[in-house]
Subunit: 496 residues, 4 copies
């Protein structure tokens, strides 16, 4: 069973018996018909259809090494520069489809599980079966085109409890029992984005400190279907609406976030990736170059989103007869500057890629980290540009149905733009509103700003990615106390 | 008929036969029962009740000079420092009630009409009846506690049409005919905030350039009830919700914005404040110190809102056990800095008040202009502080009904805060969400950022408020080419 | 011996036998003739002359309560609002004379010693003679118009040594011996600004932690003449020049910073303000409201400096025919905004002043803290405005002597401004250069930015100045869980 | 005569009979001995020596196509990617030698004249001899290793005069007469950086508007030796000092700026590149890709300078025991982010290079424009980082000679750093001072911030570099009104 179609994607989601709550009520009936999910599911179905479309098939798939059937190219573990390029082009096709608004576009998690797979060897140390589980699970996802979500952040109360309570009292996520059929897990996880519109969930909490010597019950990772007994999902309020005119973004791209509860959920043995030793959490993420691989997927999403904002700004300027005003040129030029920057950083990450110890090609980390820092700061600024260029137009906008009402002729008369009719101009401002003042846009801003952590966290990550701090101090030392005034003759010694 | 109660306010609103459209349908039935309006109407009714409450009566009212009955203190034209203080305390009571979220708190328009009233004399030049109309209308508003809205910005298409089309073809708002009963007006106005939840509307467009010699049809001002024949209101999408737990702000403070169409509306003669001569628009606003008087109302609203954000930040910090973290201290100290600043600027505007040529006391303009520039920049920063301090907590929040569902015990267990239970902590984050990512907050940011115009407009206003630019150049001239090195011996010569 | 004249000031400075080193050489001969000091000494002499000038005498002096002779008004401990106003006007006269460039204008240290004097009572607890010493020293400074400097920051090596070395090994400043004639002190102090151009120095280090139970040798404060045996001063490089055309600021206002070494300096008993108990350091500063009193002096200096920058910007704009350009209006309006802000904060600090437990009137702390935070951020922005408005004119400027050379006619021809001749225009850009790119301006920026500590320090100070953090959380608590929806009826409850 | 040595460079400079004025006096004697020039000349001599050093010879030279002798590689017109790489490595060698502080490192003007040469063909239209002159002049510079400066900005008075005065009265630079020997030019030029320490000067003013039909006297370009009759240079005040300890940067890198006057200077016919037709100014610069070629030289200078600041920050952090403090990690990570960014943009400019119509390889413009916008904003921020991390250490620093004085032992004792002795620590802070508060650093900041124009100018340049504004609006148009929902299948369509 290779790449799936949109219909297959929908069928699987609808077939699940997921225990999911929305505003105090358990959702019954197919998710694909539920207003909070239908738009996103439809968008995602169209994306799955793309990879089955003959126009894209070659660019978006490759033959499974196990089955020979065509599977999604974002599952491909890169071993050559060509692999990286193929991955990039595939990611770009989907990103241009969703314009960067889907943080959980399937290629994101496909890349994530691919990344963990590349480092499966390290699990051999703990137990060969864990390595085997991870490899098999990856192949399963790839060959069945499994749509994944992941969960790793626990609620604050869980974290505090994990630090101060005795192991048995702690409400931090933990393994409460090992039985013949598997391990039993209890705990809560924040922010499983698209938790409900995926097939399975990958769970890998940061282990709490444990007082016990071994078999740390807080240290584990696994993947399971979303509808195991004991699993409960809570949704936040949906930001979706049904009119693509009135809510052009949320009607298509609203990815529900969920809080997931595990209440004595049985995890089968073959779905456990490690258990009991907390160092495997950081080893697995570090040695699989998890952040680097996903950042290479994300930077293409950044580029698509930046281009979308550029289009919005250029459209707002044109529609308000302000294309050549300084207050228009300045923000647009700034977006162009960052568009060049993200494209250059992506290029540099590919050109500078190097093979890891397992033989996989890892993009250069530095440019990708730089892109995450830039985007987390620049995205809110693009939103502000939309706000400034829309002014009161961001607020006083009418609805699709107003135009077709018996009073609609007033709108056609008075709401014209410089080059467009009232209907289009109003649609453009509705789009600006969703980006710049609506709730969908509010979540996007928060998501982009904090996806890789707050400013201290990302600064530390960048600082630690360099191991040549002494090199730069040495430049100064030789400048102040020169012994040999001649510089090194090799290019770019600083960057590695 | 003096100050009105909340019930009287509601009755009048509901009694109107307003032609108002929401999402393609004309609203039938009482507005106070309509989901888009009921929360705001309820809040405003409670505010009107305050002024009838014996605990506040003395602080919020004064006897009408015409009737002797108690009327709202925000109608009081200040003639002394004590008047300014009384006005400020009254405004503070309402601001603390709505925490600064109501841009159209009744004291705003009461202050606006009071301000125009103080300059009614200038209309004598054009025609004594205009001056008389304005004075009578002010007294009517004051003595009947009329709830007002205003409209002056026209849609972009109207503005362009006013510049390029012949007068008869222009869709800019204009007087199309003068008849015995009054003048007939056609045109459209953006952004009549609370247009539907008021009794009457004050209309004073910026006149388009006119090619005709006199009787400029684009130059006029008037006030009318909201339900005259020919008036049509269009609403934007409502941001209101009914649960005060889930939407603590929008359920109380959502002020609907409306687009108002005048289609051959007959304006009775006694409601016309001027007509035909475009210079009266700028004269009336300038010589009534319109901006200064309303800015003195607004600065108290700023202070209430700043305090509210301070409380939110302090609560988020406490609930996340981060009260003494640098990333908490820095934003909170910054809010305290601006809280001191706004309080000082308000004080300076009162201490520095001076009498105008009509004998009314006008607060000092400079400090108030400074406050509007500071707040338009600082408000979005406070929102960003909420975003940064809430992190993913701004997104993954559950609903009131989830807590009472059969699955709610999970929430009580896992969503606790540092000092509060899960229910309160979740409520706090819902509040942070409405401020920092929700649609209500999005409009608030746009409103505060651009209320007095974009950054160029407000810079010009401040620049032009000074007439001593030479004085400052003279400091430099004397420094470079000193004749008398001794400074002036009087205090503060620069500030006037 | 009352207020001194400029000549008396110079004579005393020149009479000192100070051990001061400049670029490896001990300075011999009168400081008032030394290029590094003469400009500043001349400026300061003119300032002292002002207080003896009959035009200013009444505004700048008051009769000594001890001698009845006229003494400097900045020594006056304020007990009434009128006292605060008199102090402010006196400070303003000097500030307008030096345009805010003198951080050690005599009124600064006069205010400092006055402030410590007001809290002398607390030293009674430690020993009555300490209280008596402080009171007498204050009276001595006031009645003899002593020009003071102060020193409290130690070099980093001293601080580290104070933390890790045994008391006897530590190089942190300490009392090494007590003998009949007084206490013997050894240590080093950074940044005694104007250390050499003052009569005496006030020394009050932050005590290092001590392991001994009592008689902490690191805890002490005293004041001594600058030329005691064992004292050595090191100067930084001078930024002064002699041409007031070429270096209009540094030729007048360059305040030398010095590193002061105490090598077994004998401090007479009557000059010791406390010794041996480290808590008196923080008590003396806290209970004398040291920061608040000096901040009230400083805010007037801020205002004078802000006006000076305003004049520079306005002049640059005029001279380049750019007065009405948006890139000119924006920065000028911003300076006006902060000028209003500083004036309002000063006013608020005076109106909100309250009596301390010793009966002295202390300005309100909050507005003054706010001013220090604003100015430390805004000053560098004003410098940037000068840079942006001067462009390459900041760099390519000629010298006074070029104009009078045989080639000077070229300059007169080609360097004209819009309204001025080449000589004046070039002088204006030289001034802009000293502010925006010269070394004098560089020190000013660093001084203003960091005078009250880095951004974390000032944030903490502001945070801790409030004791009503609960009040603001309570606003939110009542909003979320209202019991009584009515707000408090008193004004401004939040600000205290 | 191929690449020159340092001695040859000095000899030529000293041999010139340049008419140059410093502080009102004409400089007599060799410039290489003059304090204002000697440090820079020595540095530049060492740089010329590098290209003759066998360690660098192969990396820094190539055989002249005319003479076969080795000439400087920065003269090489790139035709292949390898050429670009060779150029980059050569530029890097010199940039690492001067750490990016020389804006007029010889490779800058070598690149400039090379760039103009590549478009010499366009001058054929005007007159074949102009094309020939330019080609020959380029070959002359290359084969004789001519050190060039350039001048194109005129004083403000000249510009205004060129706009308002009649041609004959205008003081704007112009051709005043054509005679048999050549053309006679009169006018003034600002900011010939290193005007005096070069062999020749390239002059190409922006032509003033001319009222005459042809033979526009304001339109011309030429190159001449610096010591022709009628040429006069005025220097600004020198920022240089002689001690490399006390002034580590200015003692080596101070590039004097000069104002150059042409008073009836005879320009020989063979040195004229065009005359009389103003369109050749913009054509020559546009079609030679002048900005792009020099920006490719400059970006490597940016990288060297960024690395230098990184070293300073890391050293300051280490010396103050603050390596792992958040206030250290944040700025250092930010520099790393921009270091990655500049490296990526340089790479992208090379990878994306394309051949122009003359067959030369031009780096991709977009990434280079992005680098200039980033650096003009980021450089001042790096300076601010140095200021913040140095605090008062930026001000209170002693001199080299203080250490060797009889009082120097105090400094050795008290001024130690965390890892270094007092001498080194003081040297580090002197370096920080020159960057962050000294006059050399002040000019650097102004130079970097405004080199490519103010923020509006650079925004326009970026905006105009794109010709696909419609493309981005089309993204939005298809999103709002989709006809074919499938995205384009090619990579990176947006970037061209």
């Amino acid at each position: 069973m290779p790449i799936k179609t949109g219909n297959q994607y929908i069928e699987r989601i609808d077939r699940q018996n997921i225990n999911i709550w929305y505003k105090g009520t358990r959702i019954e009936g197919p998710l694909s018909k539920h207003p909070a999910f239908q738009g996103l599911i439809q968008t995602q179905a169209e994306m799955y259809n793309m990879q089955c479309d003959e126009r894209y098939l070659a660019q978006m798939t490759y033959p499974s090494p196990d089955t020979g059937e065509l599977v999604g190219l974002s599952f491909l573990p890169p071993k050559s520069v060509e692999d990286l390029e193929r991955r990039r082009k595939m990611i770009e096709l989907w990103s241009n489809r969703h314009h960067g608004f889907l943080g959980r576009s399937p290629d994101y998690m496909n890349t994530a599980i691919m990344s963990l797979f590349t480092a499966a060897d390290i699990l051999e140390d703990l137990h060969p079966k864990y390595a085997e589980n991870l490899r098999r699970y990856y192949a399963y996802c790839r060959d069945y085109d499994i749509t994944l979500s992941h969960a790793f952040i626990q609620p604050q109360a869980s974290k505090i409890s994990g630090q101060i309570d005795a192991t048995e009292d702690s409400i931090a996520a933990k393994v409460v029992e090992i039985i013949d059929e598997g391990m039993i897990v209890t705990g809560a996880f924040m922010m499983a984005t698209q938790g409900a519109t995926c097939d399975e969930m990958l769970v890998f909490p940061t282990p709490s400190p444990s007082l016990v010597d071994d078999d740390n019950p807080f240290a584990f990772a696994f993947a399971v279907p979303n509808d195991l007994p004991g699993m409960t999902f809570f949704c936040r309020e949906s930001y979706a609406a049904t009119s693509t005119y009135d809510h052009p973004l949320s009607s298509r791209y609203e990815e529900m976030d969920t809080l997931v509860i595990f209440d004595r959920v049985l995890i089968p043995h073959d779905r456990i990736f490690y258990y009991g030793d907390e160092i495997y959490c950081s080893r697995l993420f570090g040695e699989s170059h998890f952040h680097t691989h996903i950042a290479h997927q994300i930077i293409t999403r950044y580029i698509a989103k930046t281009e979308f904002f550029l289009g919005v700004l250029e459209s707002l300027a044109e529609e308000q007869n302000a294309e050549l005003e300084p207050f228009t040129i300045l923000p647009i030029s700034r977006i162009l500057t960052f568009l060049e920057t993200f494209q250059a950083l992506r290029l540099a990450s590919e050109i500078g890629a190097s093979h890891d110890k397992f033989g996989f090609l890892v993009p250069d980390k530095g440019p990708l980290l730089a892109s995450t820092i830039h985007f987390s700061e620049f995205y809110p600024k693009m939103v502000e540009m939309v706000q400034n260029l829309s002014s009161s137009g961001l607020i006083m906008i009418t609805s699709e149905s107003d135009f077709s009402s018996s009073a609609g002729s007033y709108l056609h008369q008075y709401l014209k733009g410089t080059v467009s009719d009232a209907w289009y101009r109003n649609a453009l401002f509705r789009l600006a509103w969703e980006l710049g003042a609506g709730v969908f846009g509010g979540r996007q801003t928060q998501f982009e700003r904090l996806f890789f952590g707050n400013s201290e966290t990302v600064a530390w990550r960048m600082y630690n990615s360099y191991d040549n701090h002494k090199y730069f101090r040495q430049i100064i030392h030789e400048f102040i106390s020169p012994e040999d005034p001649l510089p090194n003759s090799t290019t770019d010694v600083a960057s590695k």
